[in-house]
């Protein structure tokens, strides 16, 4: 899904009256990244110029100050996911964490087996890592998802065999926001002695994550998805019951228990830690508020527009997440019409590959509805007034584009679009 919705500045000065308290453009693409929380920035600042030391410098106060910042961060992250400090490994972000978890297990447990299970709706950081392993002789099962975006636990059970070494299923999806039955997946893995990795990038800091209650062995965490800085992430690596071992993919000075060498990104790590502390404190009220705003947006839009479809389960979903398909309207043209609002679309036109979202296709909604989808990501700094403005602009633009749509006209004439022989199907 495209994340670079560029807003030309002259266009962001909208032709539309802006309601009080709404500053344009509005950022509502919080799955892509989040703005940094000022509390996080404040905590990071001393670690650039004043406490600039190398956390690995053991013999002077500059090193100690940096190390102290890192260890405080480690404690905060561990606390947020119910882990111990020794189980947190710092990385450059969730993509690296996913790579380290999957490749690290694959190499370390090669003698035990060569089978990995994942799902078709995973992030590319997981899918492409699995594909590379396939080239190196590993066997990968890609589980389908049901209409609501969730995997079927029976499919998972059936896919496991005595060569299965790893199950990697994401906690919450980045496009549709659905939350997988992680606890149950973890239980199945534990019973069969299979390691369970979850890409928890979208979930940590948004919904409760508990590595012990949920039987998680490895979890990928990202800073910039939870109001922290970009370029920093973490991997939770279970140390007992069972102890998970990883082969490193970056070798060097033996930092992070030999699992991830390289001088620590101290300001980034401090920021990630603070982001976790803030999230932990704010989560109960924040998740409630965001779910309320999300439902308000959904109700406003769906009460006014017919033939709009929610992609993915509403019940098992991140609080601020909403993905809607607007039938007969192409996603990119809709984005163009609401150019003072930053959201993203599963439309092919917004991707480099000209393929519609593989996640939406996997739900079985049909390519036409994938092309018509918009992802809204409501975050910490969005307001009710913004939500109302977004709803109004979306409604107005969809109505305008439907008037322009030959498909809408045909549907209104009672033509079943599925029965039409399209001239361009070879395109």
């Amino acid at each position: 899904m495209s994340t670079d919705v560029k807003i030309p500045q002259e266009l962001s000065k909208a032709q539309h009256p802006t309601p009080k308290g709404v500053k344009l453009p509005i950022y509502m693409d919080n799955h892509a990244t989040t703005p940094m929380d000022p509390r996080v920035l404040e905590e990071m600042l001393p670690f650039f110029m004043e406490k600039f030391g190398n956390a690995a410098s053991r013999n002077h106060s500059f090193g100690w100050a940096a190390e102290e910042g890192v260890e405080t961060a480690r404690e905060r992250i561990a606390k947020l996911v119910g882990a111990t400090t020794k189980e947190i490994i710092f990385t450059s972000g969730a993509t690296e964490s996913d790579n380290l978890a999957i490749k690290g297990v694959a190499e370390m447990y090669r003698e035990k087996g060569n089978h990995i299970i994942t799902a078709v709706t995973e992030h590319k950081a997981v899918l492409d890592t699995c594909k590379r392993l396939e080239k190196n002789g590993y066997r990968v099962t890609y589980l389908p998802v049901q209409k609501d975006g969730l995997i079927d636990l029976d499919d998972l059970k059936r896919a496991m065999d005595d060569k299965t070494i790893l199950v990697t299923i994401m906690f919450a999806n980045n496009e549709i926001g659905v939350i997988q039955p992680v606890t149950e997946i973890g239980k199945l893995c534990r019973e069969r002695g299979v390691i369970f990795h979850t890409d928890a990038t979208q979930a940590v800091g948004k919904v409760p994550v508990d590595v012990n209650k949920q039987n998680i062995d490895l979890a990928s965490i990202s800073g910039h998805k939870m109001y922290g800085p970009k370029g920093v992430g973490a991997l939770y690596v279970r140390r007992k019951n069972p102890r998970v071992q990883l082969a490193a993919i970056i070798d060097g000075g033996g930092h992070e228990r030999g699992m991830r060498s390289g001088t620590l990104n101290v300001p980034g790590i401090v920021g990630l830690g603070k982001a976790c502390a803030v999230a932990q404190e704010d989560m109960p009220q924040e998740s409630c508020r965001l779910a309320g705003l999300r439902n308000r947006l959904k109700d406003r839009i769906m009460n006014r527009l017919d033939e709009t479809y929610i992609n993915g389960s509403m019940e098992h979903r991140l609080p601020g997440s909403l993905n809607i398909s607007f039938a007969y309207v192409e996603g990119e043209s809709l984005l163009m019409g609401i150019n003072d609002i930053a959201v993203s679309s599963g439309s092919a036109c917004t991707s480099a590959t000209l393929e519609p979202s593989y996640v939406l296709k996997a739900l079985g909604a049909g390519d036409d509805l994938a092309h018509s989808s918009i992802r809204f990501g409501i975050g910490r700094f969005n307001t009710e007034a913004e939500v109302d403005y977004v709803a109004d602009r979306v409604i107005e633009t969809v109505e305008r584009l439907r008037e322009l749509s030959p498909l809408y006209e045909m549907a209104k004439e009672g033509i079943n679009l599925k029965d039409v022989k399209w001239a361009g199907e070879a395109h």
Partner: protein, 137 residues
Amino acid sequence: MSYSDKVIDHYNNPRNVGSMDKNSSDVGTGLVGAPECGDVMKLQIKVNPQTNVIEDAKFKTFGCGSAIASSSLATEWVKGKTVDEALAIKNMDIVKELSLPPVKIHCSVLAEDAIRAAIGDWKKKQDTAKPVVAEAK
């Protein structure tokens, strides 16, 4: 992805949006693309049977901003041209006029296809109408 001013202009003020009676003998309809591919264009022309001049053109498009702009521009361009002149419009002319980036060239191809399909439909109607005319002579 940023858009050229001309694409934005056509998107904000599309020309010749609408529909004509597809059963009328002097109307040619082209429907190209497919919903699965994310683009469907309907382009209609009304041709003067005496002069073969396209007197009116209408379009409706399901597609991205560039697809909307390409078809809007196509209706502007075919209007006032003879059928043969309209057939000489090439997709690269549209690409040039709208400054479409490489990933949007398919939108211009579709617009050219739509012009051809509409003219083809109109011609077919004239051919089937001809024997009747001949008998009347």
